[in-house]
């Protein structure tokens, strides 16, 4: 239906936006590649939605330039940008049937009646709404409304599809189903997708790249595994998922990485420490730590006491406190957790040197 070459390439250059004295977006520069699935992730008020609205043309940036395929579109009104958009709450036309909703962008573009009929028919088939053509949005379930919104935004083959928290109103199982469907639509259409969410697991599952926002600033852009495994700072590290923070003293470069003292025990790290000297924070994901029967000289490890456990089905989440009082969470097999708790709660926590990364001490 769409040649991948038609997907748009977007370049944001020093975009800023102030609402009165509130700085919603600050000096944002970002390249969005042709056909990419980029997620804008951040807490509410972080600027991600403002940026999406600027991309759509509904909000005018206070400064900076926006280019689409090399053309400056900063001052181009929304109706001439031809970006497909799916809103939070879908924003379907309540007085139009499913068919009429999907036909709307084609009618606006003055397509012939036969072309409209054909393309709307194809789109309805593609999003699985056959048999619902004549229904009004109010007669549809949340998931079906979502499909109408997607179909309406994609039917005119826009160069870019903008999605503003489209799944926030759906229950969990339906959300997973719609996510899979959206991934399929992205592959089929080849269109550039820009997706806004505050749900980190959704962002990691769907995107080719994730852009993380906080307080109006773009903190990091990268592939899901890049931002998850090598976050640029503490905020990104914590926002993307649970993470343990262990103070490390006397950090200095060593063979293949760095070394330092964690709870008076030498630890080795593969991550680079050029910019970090002295005291630092070692950040490690819960799934990268494990519980060992006893201390081993060759392995990083500290002593800890199990204080609580949460059964998660496939694994158990174990909350521990280290000797020096740091709180640590690990995700371990259920039987390991049971054993740890039965053994007087005192355990040995270990992690491989390749895992974890150093953050400057005291940084927020």
């Amino acid at each position: 239906m769409q040649q991948p070459g038609r997907a748009a390439e977007i370049k944001a250059n020093g975009i800023g936006k102030s609402f009165g004295s509130f700085r919603a977006l600050d000096n944002l520069s970002l390249d969005i590649g042709r056909g990419e699935f980029l997620t804008l992730l951040g807490p509410s008020g972080s600027g991600k939605t403002t940026f999406l609205m600027i991309l759509a043309g509904f909000v005018q940036p206070s400064e900076g330039k926006l280019f689409s395929d090399g053309v400056d579109i900063t001052n181009r009104p929304a109706e001439q940008r031809a970006a497909g958009m799916v809103f939070q709450g879908y924003a379907l036309f309540p007085h139009m049937s499913v068919e009429q909703n999907i036909a709307f962008p084609l009618k606006v573009r003055k397509k012939s009646a036969s072309e409209i009929k054909q393309r709307v028919g194809e789109m309805i088939e593609r999003v699985g709404l056959k048999g619902h053509e004549k229904k009004l949005p109010a007669q549809l379930s949340g998931g079906q409304q979502q499909r109408v919104a997607l179909a309406r935004a994609l039917v005119f083959e826009p160069g870019v599809l903008l999605l503003d928290e489209p799944f926030s109103a759906l229950d969990k199982s339906l959300r997973g189903q719609m996510q899979a469907e959206m991934k399929r639509l992205h592959q089929e259409t080849g269109t550039t997708f820009v997706f806004v969410t505050h749900d980190q697991s959704e962002a990691l599952a769907l995107s080719s790249r994730v852009a993380i926002f906080n307080h109006g600033k773009l903190l990091q852009v990268g592939r899901p595994d890049e931002v998850y495994d090598r976050p640029a700072n503490r905020f990104v590290a914590e926002f993307l998922g649970e993470i343990n923070m262990l103070p490390v003293k006397g950090v200095r470069p060593a063979d293949n990485g760095a070394t330092g003292l964690c709870e008076d025990r030498a630890v080795n790290m593969r991550c680079k420490a050029e910019t970090i000297k002295g005291d630092a924070i070692l950040a490690i994901r819960p799934e990268d730590m494990s519980i060992a029967p006893e201390a081993s000289v060759n392995q990083n490890g500290i002593a800890a006491t199990a204080v609580a456990s949460t059964y998660l089905g496939a694994a158990t989440k174990l909350d521990l406190t280290t000797r020096q009082g740091a709180k640590v969470t690990v995700s371990v097999p259920n039987e390991v957790a049971a054993a740890a708790l039965s053994k007087g709660n005192s355990v040995w926590l270990t992690w491989p040197a390749e895992k974890g990364f150093l953050l400057p001490d005291g940084e927020q």
Partner: protein, 277 residues
């Protein structure tokens, strides 16, 4: 309906005086009017038969319906424009619109009717001005005819037509309008194909209220019509107070009340009472 039983009992108690007043001062006397319509001057359906055959009564009925229809179209259209500015305009525009909507409520219907006479009469402001700039040589007949009645009634009814429209426009999801624009629709097209259809319930409510009010107008048509554009309420007045023909006056009243009642029933099928304020 929300609230506990005691809340509802409380609400009922608070409403009771109004209900009682309506029964004593309106419903009960009206039953007397219904009785007259079947008994004066002789018992039977004679007055209702007269209603269907009397040319004068028929022409007044038709004129009333015609004026009410025109006034409804004029008022709802004007009110729609004002309401768009009031609900969606800039802060300054909103204040100005609100002022224009509320001020008429502070001026009595009589004052306003005479104000229009001063503006529209042969030697009124409008004719004098048009003559002074040489646009016309003879004064236009703007008052003591149907035109004057329509102008005066529309002026009175526009503020009432505003509220159901404002309620509909306020409850409209802004994102739907953004969606239309984002899909490539011009502002004009968005207005006609999305905004107007989405305020349909407001338009129906506004039109029915205006129409129902128009049917019962008395003072404005009496003054601005100058006896040449008699509407139904004035006809009832004439039958009761001037030519003592109480039976016919009563029969016309009954027909009017039944007709208005039917329209109100229709109105509340489309809009909830709280959407009208």
């Amino acid at each position: 309906m929300r609230g506990t039983l005691s809340d509802r009992t409380g609400a009922a108690l608070l409403m009771a005086p109004l209900l009682l007043f309506l029964i004593l001062a309106y419903a009960w006397p009206f039953l007397g009017v219904v009785k007259w319509s079947f008994t004066l001057p002789t018992p039977g359906l004679g007055q209702y038969h007269a209603l269907l055959t009397d040319d004068l009564v028929q022409s007044v009925f038709i004129r009333t319906l015609r004026i009410a229809a025109i006034v409804t179209v004029v008022s709802v259209t004007a009110a729609y424009a004002i309401t768009v500015v009031w609900v969606r305009g800039s802060p300054v525009q909103r204040v100005v619109a609100e002022f224009c909507i509320l001020v008429p409520f502070w001026i009595s219907v009589l004052t306003r009717a005479f104000g229009w006479v001063a503006l529209l009469s042969n030697r009124g402001l409008i004719n004098t001005w048009l003559q002074s700039i040489g646009f016309i040589s003879e004064p236009l007949t703007l008052v003591r005819n149907e035109f004057g009645v329509i102008v005066g009634m529309s002026h009175f009814l526009i503020p009432f037509a505003v509220f159901p429209l404002a309620s509909a426009m306020r409850s409209l999801d802004e994102r739907v309008l953004l969606a239309a624009r984002g899909l490539g629709s011009s502002r004009m097209r968005t207005f006609w194909t999305v905004f107007v259809p989405m305020t349909r319930s407001g338009i129906i409510g506004s039109a029915l209220i205006t129409f129902v009010f128009s049917l019962g107008f008395f003072v404005t048509p009496a003054i601005l019509g100058g006896g040449r554009s008699v509407m139904i309420a004035e006809l009832i007045y004439l039958r009761i107070f001037q030519s003592p023909d109480w039976g016919l006056g009563a029969a016309i009243s009954v027909v009017l009340v039944v007709f208005v009642g039917a329209l109100m029933a229709l109105l509340f099928r489309y809009v909830k009472p709280k959407q009208l304020v």
